[in-house]
Symmetry: C2
Subunit: 738 residues, 2 copies
C-alpha cells in the first residue's frame, strides 16, 4: 500500500522565473544543479586549479527541474510528492500550476498530488541564490537568509553557491490513513534509574486499523509495548533502569529502537523505526566559577560551559565540523562514514557543527548517535549581523523549528547554539537581536531539556589563535599558557594538504613551487586566505627549518608545525581542566581540496599528520609535557613541566614516568617521576625538569616520556635544535645539569 | 448600564481551608489582612520598635474574606466580580461553592456571577504565604513562587508576609456586549517621523452598536479616528510627525490619549481611555565596546547596556526602587506621588524596579509616564535559585504574561529584566535556567520591541560597593575610580534615618543611645543588617568625626558620609561616560522606617541630606571634582581633578570655573579654568590642582567650584581636616604651593 516511485529529472536554467530553459541536462536527485551541469558538459573537477570560477554565473539564474510522472502502481489511496529539501528557494508546479512557494533548505515538505496521472509534469523551479545586496560578492549577502554563509566565500571555501534539490525527493502512494510521525521523548530521573517516556503518534487521519508501538533494547528484546487505535495521540510509559547512552570514551553509546507499526488486522500497513539514546545533559559551572568575581563592583560569574552527561562532568574533546563537500547534494552516508570513523578513533567526543555550514543529513546524526559523538549544533548564522526584519524572522522561525523538531530525536545532539562569533565586532550582534531571542524561544518551546547558548565565544570562552607563531613572534606555547578560558572552542594551526602528490593534483604544474600569491595556492587558501600570511605560513616554516627547495620540504615542515602546535594546544587545554571544559580545534575536515588549511583531514577524508598528533593528545590517559618554546640552542635551560592527563572515568594506578632526551642518535635519561594514583577524570601535575642543553650536531630535540607500565600513555615532542656557534658555551654545558 | 457596586468585606482567620474563622473584623479592600487585624485590635504602629514581631503568626493561617451581595441596580445584563489581585493564592467561593482557585498576585481575574442575588455570600479564602520549605524562615522559602522575596526578610525589611486582596475588587454590572480591552501598539519609523499604529479592540461578544476610537494629542485635538462595528478586531493607522515622549531632562514626556467609545446609537455605553507615549528604545553598545577584546584567545564583546531613546544615547541616572510600603494593600496613588516628585526633582531619569519587590500599581506607571521617568522592570525573582519545576514555571508563565500585557502599554517601561543578581553565587542561576528562558520567551512573544536582559549585573556591569569605607579601609573615592564598568546599577552608602526626631519615634527610649546590636537599632537595620557592621557604620562615623555623645552627632556624621559618598560615586560614574551608561544607587526609598539604610528617602517620603547631594550630582550640567580621599592633614598634597559634566541634550558655552579652598573661615582662590564649549551630552576633563595643605585649626576642608556665569553648576565637597600635630610640618607648608 506504500509505494515509492522515483522520478527521472532533468534540469535547465533560464534568466527569469517564467522563461523556459533552452537546454536540459539529466539531473540527479538528491543533487546540486552545478554538479549536473558540469557533468553533462564534461567539465574538469571543480577541485582542480581555478575550475571553480566556471561555476560563478550559476548562482544568479533560475534552475528548473522537471519530471514526467510515470505510470503509478495501483492500490495507493493518496499520492504525495515528498521532498526532503530544496536549496534554497523554489516554486513547485504541476502542469504549470504553482502548488507551493517555499524558502529555506532545511524544512522538508510533502504535497498531496492525488489525482495526478502519468504524463503530468512536475516542476521544481529553484530561484537564484539569496543575496541581501547585489555586491560586493561576500558573506554579507547571506545576512537575510538561512542559506549557510560559507558558500558565499570563506578562508577555506571558494565562492560557490550550490542550488538544487539537495535531499531525497520522490512520489509516494499511501493509504489515506497513515502515520506521519512517531516521536519518542523522555525525561530521565535525577538518579538516572528511570525514564519517563512519552510517545507521540501522528496520523494523517484516523483509520480502522490499530497501532502497535514497542521499544527494544540493544539486544532486540522488547522492553515496552503499547497497542491502541489508529489515531493521533500520545501516551506515557516508564522504563526502569535504562541502559544509558554515553559519549565516546565514557561508556557504550547504547541505543534502543522504537518501532511503530500500523496494522490492518494482521497485515502490516506501515512501520516506522527510530533510535533512542537515554542520557541527561546539563551545562554546569566549573568548580570554582562561583568564587568569582570577588571584588566590588561585582559583575556576574562566568556562564556555564562544562558538559555534564548522566551526572558526570565530561571534558569535551573534539573539533569544529564543516560541510564535507561544497555541494550538499552529493553528500551521502558514505561521505560521512570515514570522517566519523576518524573522529571517533581520535578519541573525540564532541564536534561543533559550525553555523557557517549546512545542517547535516540524517546519516550524519545517526552516525554520531552510534559512535557516542556529542554534537554542538549551531543554527545557520555565522559572522554576520542577521537583522531581525519580519521577512528574515519568518524564514528563521520556519527553518529553526524544522531543525529542532528533526534533531531533538538524536541522543548525540547535546547543545543548541545560535551561531558562530555573533557577539564580536565582525558580526555585531548582541543578546538583543531578535533572531537570537527567536532561536532561544523556539528551543525553549520545542526542546527545553537541551541547553541553548546564543553563540561562541561567550564570556569566559576563547576563540583563537590560529597560527603556530603570530606575526609578533608569539608561539602556540604561550597562547593558552597565558589564558584561563572556560572553553577553547576554536583554535588552530595551518598545515599543508595531506601530501605533495595531493597538491600536484589540485595545483597546475606552473604554479606548484614555490607557494605564492596569484596562483592556485591562493585560490586553494594556502596564501592570502584570511590574513595575507595564512594558512601555510611559508616564512615561518623556512625560519624554523631553513629554506625549502622542494615541495616535499614545504609539506614536511608545515606538517611538523601543525602537528606539534595542535598537540601543544590540546594538551594545555586539558591541563587547565576543570576550569577549562572544552578543546575543539578549527577545524576537523574541509569541503574541498585546500592546498593548506587548519583542517586536520584533507578533503574528502585523508588524515594529515596533525590528525595523528591530535589523536595522541586526546588519548584518555597520557603523559604530557608543558614546553616553553619550539626552537632550542646549546646552553639554554630546557624546563618541561611533566603531567599525567586523565579524562577516563576510571582511576589509574600509581606508576612511573621517565623523561628522556634525544639529540641525533643520542638518548639521555633525564628524570623518573614516581607518580601516585590518578582519580577518575583527574589530572596530575608532576615535576618540572631543568636541563642545560649540550652541544650536538643534531637539528632536532625530542623529549620522550616513557611509561613502562603503560606504553599507550607515552608521548614525544620533537622540536628544532640549533647547535651553539660558540665553543665556550658548548664546553660549559657539555654535561647535563640535572 | 455599567454599574459598579462596592462590597462590604469582613475578614477572619482559621487554621485550615475548611474551618470557619472564629473572629471577624472589618476588612479594607484593597488592603492587607495584617493591617485589618491590627486596626481592629488597636495595635500600635508596625513601624515602632519590635511591633512587627506580633504579625509573624499571620503568614501561616488561612484568611477568609466574605461579603454579602447587596441589592444590585437594575439594568445590567451580566454581573461580574472584578478582582485586580490577591496576595498570594486564593479560592473564590459563592455561597460556599468554589468558583476559582488562583495562585499569583499579579494576574487579575474577572468572574461571571450573573444570576447571583442580594444575600448571596461571596468569599475569598487567602492561603498561607507560599514557602518552598518550612524553615529556616528566610528568603529561600520564596524560591518556588512569584511572591516577592523581600517580605521573607531582607536587610531593609522585617520578616512580614502580607496577604490579602491587595488591588481593587468590586461587583460590576455590564451589558452582555462590552469592551474588555482596547490596546494601542505602534512601531516608530527609524527616523521617528511616523508611527505605525495598531489598535486592538476586544469585545466580550459582538454587539449591535458601534465602536468609535480616537487619538488626541496633548492639547486634546483629535489626530486620528476610526469607526467600526462593535466586535473584536484590530486596525491600523499612521500618525505622521508624532510628538515624542522624552525622558526627564531630555525633553517633554508627551502623552497622547487614546479613547474608545462603545455607542448604542448616540448613547455612550462604555468609554475606555489610555495614554500613549511615542518613543523608540534600544540597548546599544558603548562607543568603544566593539574594540574589545583585542587579544587571542578572543572572547565576546561586552553586552550592550547603553539606553538609546529616540535615537539619542542617554546616560541613565537614578536609583533602585523598592516597595514604598511593607503592605502592598495600603499603597495608593498618594503613596507614589511625593516619591516620584522627589525622583523627578533630583533629575533622575531611570528607576530600577528591583525584582525583590512587588510590581507596582497602575498609578505608579502613570506617574512615571507623566514625569518622563524610565523604568527598568524586573520580574519577581531576586537572590534565589528559582528552579524550573513544572509548578513554578506554570505560575511564572501566568504571572509574567499578566505583567507584560499590562505594562507594555506604558512609555516609561524601558527594559525588561529577569530579576536581581541571579548570576551570582548567592542565587546560583545561569542562562540555562528554564525560568529565565521562559521570561525571554514571553517578552519576545508579547513585547518584542522592548529590550530584555536576564539579570543585573551582567558581564561588564557592576554592583556595589555599599559602604563609604570598607573593612579593608577602601573609601568610596577608590571604588569606581579603580573600575571600568559599563553600568553601575547598584551602589550605596548607609545613612541614618532622616532625623533624630524620626529615630525617637521608632526606637524605644531605652534603646536610643548608643546604637547597638540587640536593640531596635538592629531590627530597624542600622546594625547587623547585612554584615554585622551595616548599615550605620558607627565606628566609621566616630573614626572620622570623633566620639559621638548625642544622637544628633551620630545622625549628622552619618548624613555627612552618605551625602559625600553618593556624590562621589554618582559623579565618578558620570565622568566615565560614555563607557559607563548608568548610575543607579541602592536605593531610593524604603518600605518601612529604617533606623539606618542605604535609601536616600526615609519611609514614607522624607528626603535625607543624601537625597539633596544626589540631586546635586545629577544636575544636567555641573562642575565636578575627582578627589583622592576623605580625610586630609596639614602638609599633604590635595590634588582634585576638575571636570565639567554635561548630560543635557544642549551644548554649553565656553566659560570659567574657579576652584576655591575653604578651611574654617578662610577661603583661598586656587585656580581658574577657562574651559572651551561643551558639546551636547559630553563631559570635559579639566586640570588637576596640586595644593599642599596649610596648617589650620579647622576640622573641615571644603573644595568649592564656582562658575560665575552658571551659579547652578557650582559644587562643594566638604571633607574632614586634621591639623598637623607636628609644628615643623605646619611651618613648612604654611603657604599654599599653587
Amino acid at each position: 500500500m506504500f509505494t515509492r516511485t522515483p522520478l527521472t529529472w532533468q534540469v535547465g536554467h533560464s534568466a527569469s522565473l517564467d522563461a523556459a530553459p533552452a537546454v536540459w541536462v539529466p539531473a540527479s536527485v538528491p543533487g546540486t544543479v552545478q554538479v549536473d551541469w558540469a557533468r553533462a558538459h564534461g567539465w574538469g573537477s571543480v577541485q582542480v586549479g581555478d575550475n571553480w570560477r566556471d561555476y560563478l554565473w550559476m548562482e544568479d539564474v533560475y534552475w528548473t527541474y522537471t519530471a514526467v510522472l510515470p505510470e503509478l502502481a495501483p492500490g495507493g489511496e493518496r499520492l504525495y510528492f515528498v521532498c526532503g529539501g530544496v536549496d534554497y528557494a523554489c516554486e513547485v508546479r504541476l502542469n504549470g500550476r504553482v502548488l507551493l512557494a517555499h524558502e529555506g533548505m532545511f524544512s522538508p515538505f510533502t504535497l498531496d498530488l492525488t489525482g495526478a496521472a502519468a504524463g503530468d509534469v512536475l516542476a521544481v523551479v529553484v530561484f537564484p541564490a539569496p543575496k541581501s545586496r547585489p555586491e560586493p560578492a561576500d558573506r554579507v549577502q547571506a545576512n537575510q537568509s538561512c542559506k549557510p554563509a560559507v558558500s558565499y566565500g570563506w578562508d577555506f571555501h571558494p565562492r560557490l553557491l550550490p542550488l538544487g534539490i539537495w535531499e531525497d525527493a520522490y512520489l509516494e502512494s499511501r493509504p489515506a490513513s497513515h502515520l506521519t510521525d512517531a516521536e519518542v521523548r523522555y525525561t530521565l530521573a535525577d538518579d538516572l534509574t528511570r525514564a519517563e517516556i512519552t510517545v507521540e503518534l501522528a496520523m494523517s487521519q484516523p483509520g480502522a486499523g490499530r497501532l502497535h508501538w514497542e521499544l527494544c533494547d540493544a539486544a532486540g528484546t522488547v522492553v515496552l509495548a503499547h497497542d491502541g487505535p489508529a489515531e493521533s495521540g500520545s501516551y506515557s510509559a516508564t522504563l526502569d533502569a535504562p541502559e544509558l547512552w554515553w559519549p565516546n570514551g565514557q561508556g557504550a553509546p547504547t541505543l534502543y529502537t522504537a518501532r511503530t507499526t500500523l496494522l490492518d488486522g494482521d497485515a502490516v500497513v506501515q512501520r516506522v523505526e527510530s533510535k533512542v539514546g537515554f542520557r541527561r545533559v546539563r551545562l554546569v559551572m566549573h568548580p570554582t566559577a562561583w568564587d568569582e568575581p570577588s571584588d566590588f563592583p561585582k559583575t556576574r560569574s562566568t556562564p556555564p560551559i562544562t558538559l555534564e552527561i548522566n551526572n558526570r562532568r565530561i571534558f569535551a574533546k573534539g573539533a569544529n565540523w564543516v560541510s564535507p563537500d561544497i555541494f550538499p547534494g552529493v553528500i551521502t552516508a558514505e561521505t560521512y562514514r570515514p570522517l566519523l570513523d576518524l573522529a571517533a578513533a581520535a578519541h573525540m567526543n564532541l564536534l561543533r557543527l559550525w553555523g557557517g555550514a549546512i545542517i547535516g543529513k540524517a546519516a550524519f546524526y545517526e552516525g554520531c548517535d552510534a559512535r557516542g559523538i556529542m554534537l554542538w549544533q549551531e543554527f545557520p548564522l555565522a559572522c554576520n549581523r542577521y537583522e531581525g526584519t519580519p521577512a528574515y524572522l519568518h524564514v528563521l522561525d520556519q527553518e529553526s523549528r524544522a531543525i529542532i523538531t528533526r534533531l531533538r530525536r538524536h541522543a548525540c545532539v547535546t547543545l543548541w547554539c545560535g551561531g558562530n562569533e555573533l557577539f564580536n565586532v565582525w558580526s555585531g550582534m548582541t543578546e538583543q537581536d531578535l533572531a537570537l531571542r527567536l532561536l532561544n524561544r523556539n528551543c525553549y518551546d520545542l526542546d527545553p531539556g537541551r541547553p541553548y547558548i546564543n553563540t561562541s565565544p561567550l564570556m569566559g570562552m576563547g576563540h583563537g589563535h590560529y597560527v603556530f607563531r603570530s606575526a609578533a613572534g608569539r608561539e602556540v606555547y604561550r597562547i593558552f599558557a597565558d589564558a584561563a578560558c572556560t572553553a577553547y572552542t576554536e583554535f588552530g594551526c595551518g598545515g599543508p594538504a595531506v601530501s605533495a602528490d595531493y597538491l600536484r593534483e589540485i595545483i597546475p604544474p606552473a604554479d606548484l613551487f614555490p607557494p605564492r600569491l596569484g596562483t592556485a595556492w591562493e585560490t586553494h587558501h594556502a596564501v592570502g586566505a584570511w590574513e595575507p600570511n595564512s594558512h601555510l605560513l611559508y616564512d615561518v616554516i623556512e625560519d624554523y627549518f631553513g629554506p625549502c627547495t622542494t615541495l616535499e620540504e614545504v609539506v614536511a615542515g608545515g606538517h611538523h608545525l601543525q602537528a606539534e602546535g595542535l598537540k601543544c594546544l590540546f594538551e594545555e587545554a586539558r591541563r587547565q581542566k576543570p576550569r577549562a571544559a572544552m578543546a575543539l580545534n578549527w577545524c576537523f575536515n574541509e569541503p574541498w581540496a585546500c592546498a593548506a588549511n587548519m583542517s586536520i583531514v584533507s578533503w574528502p577524508a585523508q588524515p594529515k599528520p596533525a590528525y595523528y598528533a591530535v589523536a595522541g593528545a586526546l588519548r584518555p590517559v597520557l603523559a604530557s609535557a608543558k614546553l616553553q618554546k619550539f626552537r632550542w640552542r646549546t646552553g639554554e635551560t630546557f624546563a618541561p613541566e611533566l603531567w599525567l592527563l586523565n579524562d577516563a572515568p576510571e582511576a589509574q594506578l600509581a606508576g612511573r614516568v621517565e623523561a628522556w632526551l634525544r639529540l641525533g642518535d643520542s638518548e639521555t635519561f633525564l628524570l623518573g617521576w614516581d607518580h601516585p594514583a590518578l582519580p577518575p577524570n583527574t589530572n596530575l601535575a608532576g615535576p618540572t625538569l631543568r636541563v642545560t642543553l649540550p652541544d650536538s650536531p643534531a637539528d632536532r630535540l625530542t623529549l620522550i616520556l616513557r611509561v613502562p607500565d603503560h606504553p599507550e600513555w607515552e608521548s614525544e615532542y620533537t622540536l628544532v635544535f640549533t647547535p651553539s656557534a660558540v665553543p665556550e658555551a658548548v664546553e660549559a654545558t657539555r654535561r647535563l645539569n640535572q
